[in-house]
Amino acid sequence: MSLSNEQVGHLARLARIALSDAEIDATRSKLNGIFGLIEQMQAVDTAGVEPMSHPQELATRLREDVVTDENRREAFQQVAPQTEAGLYLVPKVIE
């Protein structure tokens, strides 16, 4: 398998990472090396093997639907790039 520059550009857009044309070129050759390694998996017949998503077969723990934490909005917003009146500011998304 070999990725094209267009495919790498598409992946970068999906991942929301801006890449210049030069970066796409450099990234493509590294990614193709990584996929060359990953391709080794395809040699194994895994028919009938249940996928293992997690080391422990855990059921989701449930708890009472009650407040368990205090409101720490000010502390959490102190590390935000831009806030105002307790809100996070981002570029306008609706005209």
């Binding site: 992946l11 990234t27 990614l31 080391p55 590390v79």
Partner: protein, 490 residues
């Protein structure tokens, strides 16, 4: 004092041979002197350390000290520390002063441990050499031209250079065991689920597990005992009673303390790929284990060779999902100039993440995308089950599995920096253990032809930490590799 074990430090503190403030100052001064060269710490918290040390001295005076009260430690910078910069080795979090403590950090604070600062690491724990850190690579204390290993390279280097007696780390594919081997110290990654992941910045959540570094298995046992325990804030935290791993080590010495211990040697780990000097050291260590009463038996892990390809699907897939939270909105780096919201995300992430992190996010994005999910992600998860089943089959024939931690000693800085695949392949003996979720330990077992440390890896069944630590401790009672120090700590 800098080379004292934790029990020795405990006695010195308890009999007032030294105060916790004096002890913290001793290590802080070593950090000031040696860190400019080693770059093992990203942040040194002198004021916080001295305040914690004063509180520890009060507890000691009041007679309420625990096993770790007043003991200095370095935290890997992946753990959130309230009021202290927490970067995860990334530009993305270069301005992130955490508003809360990780569970592990809270537990150790409550135990009276004195945090000296935050240890350097590969960016977002992605790397095997510490070279992907935005804050520059950590140097190996044994030879400053060599890598310390990764991703917890700063933690391991700090303990090896005695900038701290113990350190925390995390291990997703070998990131505790590998730097422990490269730096000539002991490190343990427990069973997945024993150490809470709350406040431990996520890389690959089904693999990430906190671990402990020390010079010896005994020091690791004391630290690990204080790090484990159920935490409702981590959905994969296991509800089981905590263990005191140090108690198990207290059994009286005997001529054959490991009588009855069956050590499995996977034939796939003793095949081509292991350097001759590593093989010689591992063989000699196994001979020592046999002299202590253990027996060795050949076992097989037929799917182990597929662990690296499977890991480099599963870990990037989970990383691409986990790291989507870094969007320049709630915390972390935001680009200075941008147009619309999507542009702000893309530029902030392009500027905030380094090359290796971007590569893994892109690989993960690909393997999770429509049309490729079955062929890559599900195939990797099926292989993961086969690998976990191999370990269970092998552990029917033995109590622990042993082999080299790494195929070679630490390589030179820059040697693999431009070849990610070659670096990935060096994790051949460690990643399978994370896929299975088993506990693994690396302890010093000698030195290579280049004078660099070699580690032996022990792998146990689920919840086999006490057995691993005990085996390593018995080995260390009759050998001196774990007491060897680099010139800067001699």
């Amino acid at each position: 004092m800098i080379n004292a074990s934790l029990p020795e430090l405990r006695r010195a503190l308890d009999v007032r041979q030294i105060s916790s403030v004096e002890l913290a100052t001793l290590f802080l001064d070593r950090i000031d002197a040696l860190n400019p060269e080693l770059n093992a710490f990203i942040t040194v918290d002198r004021d916080g350390a001295l305040a914690a040390a004063r509180a520890a001295d009060e507890r000691i005076a009041a007679g309420t000290a625990g096993a770790l009260t007043g003991i200095p430690l370095a935290h890997k910078d992946v753990f959130c520390t309230e009021g202290v910069l927490t970067t995860c080795g990334s530009k993305m979090l270069s301005n992130f002063v955490s508003p809360y403590d990780a569970h592990v950090v809270s537990l150790l604070k409550a135990a009276g441990v004195v945090s000296l600062g935050k240890a350097n690491m590969d960016e977002f724990a992605m790397g095997s050499s510490n070279e992907s850190s935005y804050y520059g690579p950590t140097k190996n204390p044994w030879n400053a031209t060599r890598v310390p290993g990764g991703s917890s390279g700063g933690s391991a280097a700090a303990v090896a250079a005695r900038l701290a007696p113990i350190a925390t780390g995390t291990d997703t594919g070998g990131s505790v065991r590998q730097p422990a081997a490269f730096c000539g110290i002991t490190g343990i990654k427990p069973t997945y689920g024993l150490v809470s992941r709350y406040g431990m910045i996520a890389y690959a959540s089904s693999l990430d597990q906190g671990g402990a570094f020390g010079a010896s298995a005994e020091d690791c046992a004391l630290l690990l005992s204080a790090m484990t325990g159920f935490d409702a804030r981590d959905s994969t935290s296991l509800e089981r009673p905590t263990e005191d791993y140090a108690v198990a080590l207290a059994a009286p010495a005997s001529a054959k303390p490991l009588e009855g211990l069956r050590i499995g040697l996977p034939r796939e780990f003793f095949a081509e790929g292991m350097a001759d000097d590593v093989r010689a050291a591992v063989d000699a260590a196994l001979e020592q284990y046999r002299a202590l009463g253990a027996t060795t038996v050949e076992v097989s892990l037929p799917n182990a060779r597929l662990a690296i390809p499977a890991y480099y699907v599963i870990a990037p897939a989970e990383c691409s999902s986990n790291l989507s939270r870094f969007d320049g909105v709630r915390y972390g780096h935001r680009a200075a100039e941008y147009g619309d919201l999507a542009d702000m995300y893309s530029k902030s992430r392009a500027e905030g993440f380094g090359a290796e992190v971007k590569r893994r996010i892109l690989v993960g994005t690909y393997v999770l995308s429509h049309g490729y999910y079955d062929a890559y992600y599900l195939q990797a998860q099926r292989l993961r089950r086969l690998i976990a089943q191999d370990f269970q089959a092998a552990l029917q024939q033995c109590d622990v599995i042993a082999g080299p931690t790494m195929p070679t000693t630490a390589w030179a800085l820059g040697d693999m920096a431009d070849d990610p695949v070659q670096m990935y392949l060096s994790d051949i003996y460690t990643v399978a253990i994370n896929l299975a979720g088993l506990p693994g330990l690396s302890h010093p077992a000698g030195f290579g032809a280049d004078g660099m440390p070699i580690g032996l890896q022990l792998v146990g069944d689920y919840f086999g930490e006490a057995r691993l630590l005990n085996a390593a401790h018995r080995f260390q009672q009759v050998t001196g590799w774990h007491r060897r120090r680099p010139a800067c700590a001699a």
